[in-house]
Symmetry: C2
Subunit: 267 residues, 2 copies
């Protein structure tokens, strides 16, 4: 399937998910308290009706549009495909932001071809922002019906000038991880918590320099990798390996800063 | 001056400030590193061109529209008025959010009559949301050109179900404050960092139950008091006194929960 068709499908998925997620945003939610360790073992991990409805809508669409492709979703079991294409779906990344009414959650849509991310998309329907990139094209952003604009990370040659983000300090409950995060936090100019997927998009857009997180799931990060990389940034595990499996992840807007952050994390 | 005129002036101020703040949002900013202790002594406290331009625009408008009124602003010296009315302006509350591209900052506009808040407004021009209340009217919210809707806090009879917010854990660097915050955090269902003024508006809208913060300035909180109170919530200092002077502040959506939170803060 040509890359333009795959990208068209991703946009269709984001539109479908937005109808489900916006309908229930800022209403009284029915919440299942399902702990799955995503934000630290045993932490409160809300899953909303909207989360499930959006993933179901996207899965139904994929079953019609590309029945040969596999699906890895946050809420339901993996569907194996006939080939190497697998869609990676996180209908509401940032469920805590969603539940507290903050427009920093997003619908994440990725596509991998074997081990390689082919495209990634983050859609925030309340602010009407969409961020996306395919493997060889530019990283793009648009708001509402305005034309898409190119995303580009900014240079940050000195870590002392860097702005660091992480979704929550509760990610670093293990003492070794807490110390590692603190080493980075002590080196940068400013640390800000509370970002979820939105933070990675702000890194791609050149407003954030470093993101350090722990305990991510595959679906939390895979759809963001093409956006970060095609905007000029770098994203790996804390040990410099692939970020594809989630876990402990670090992203830098200025790729030249990446090794220094990895070195601080090692201690 | 009748309350409707005062409210009209507040809307004019928010419109004027929005023109300045949106122009520079998500651009490369010229930042003055001015530490004033707002987020903990010596912390990085960015002040942007937008911050100053917005406050100057609002001050010029007030000098024309109500030259007898005083002005207490975040960026420039107090202007004394002829009477008891003082406008309280924070052109960009949440400068860290602003600098990292997150749409959680806001323009805060308050009016006090002697010691009494007469009206309060929070404007977030990127999401096109405005929250406001006057002393005797309802708390209201509107987005874009849609009709205003009433804000109402939600009931939360059990602190174990509460959602707690604070702008950053760095507010609680003093060990006693850190312990106090932790006692509240341990009692609630979920803690989320990174909210600034937006969090108080989400409390007024019934999505957040408790906010505990430290080291606020007067301009950070005064414009939010009428919004919280007219939506059904309560806001005081950690010791139960007035929140008007800033400092250590606690807000609850369900006023019946307030004493329990104060008691946890006391330890």
């Amino acid at each position: 399937m040509p890359a333009t068709d795959l990208l068209a499908i991703a946009h269709e998925l984001a539109d479908l998910a937005a109808r489900k997620t916006t309908r229930m945003f800022r209403t009284r939610l029915h919440v299942n308290d399902k702990s799955r360790g995503g934000l630290g073992g045993g932490a409160f991990d809300p899953v909303t009706q909207a989360d499930r409805a959006a993933e179901q809508a996207m899965r139904r669409h994929l079953a019609r549009r590309c029945p040969d492709h596999g699906v890895i979703g946050e809420e339901f079991a993996k569907r194996d495909g006939a080939g190497l294409y697998n869609w990676v779906l996180d209908p509401i990344d940032g469920t805590r932001a969603y539940m507290t009414g903050l427009p920093l959650w997003g619908t994440l849509i990725g596509l991998i071809d074997g081990p390689t991310p082919v495209l990634g998309m983050m859609d925030q329907p309340f602010t009407r922002e969409r961020f996306w990139a395919s493997r060889s094209g530019p990283a793009l952003w648009r708001q509402g019906d305005a034309p898409a604009r190119r995303l580009k990370t900014r240079r940050c040659p000195d870590i002392g000038h860097a702005m660091l983000m992480a979704t929550t300090p509760d990610m670093f409950r293990q003492p070794a991880k807490k110390r590692a995060f603190r080493r980075v936090s002590a080196a940068v100019r400013m640390t800000r918590f509370g970002g979820d997927c939105y933070a990675y998009c702000m890194l791609a857009a050149g407003h954030v320099d470093v993101i350090v997180e722990a305990g991510l799931k595959t679906v939390d990060i895979v759809p963001l990798i093409p956006i970060i990389e095609r905007a000029g940034g770098r994203v790996t595990s804390w040990t410099g390996g692939s970020a594809m499996d989630g876990g402990d992840v670090v992203a830098t807007g200025d790729a030249a800063l990446h090794d220094e952050v990895l070195s601080l994390l090692r201690g």
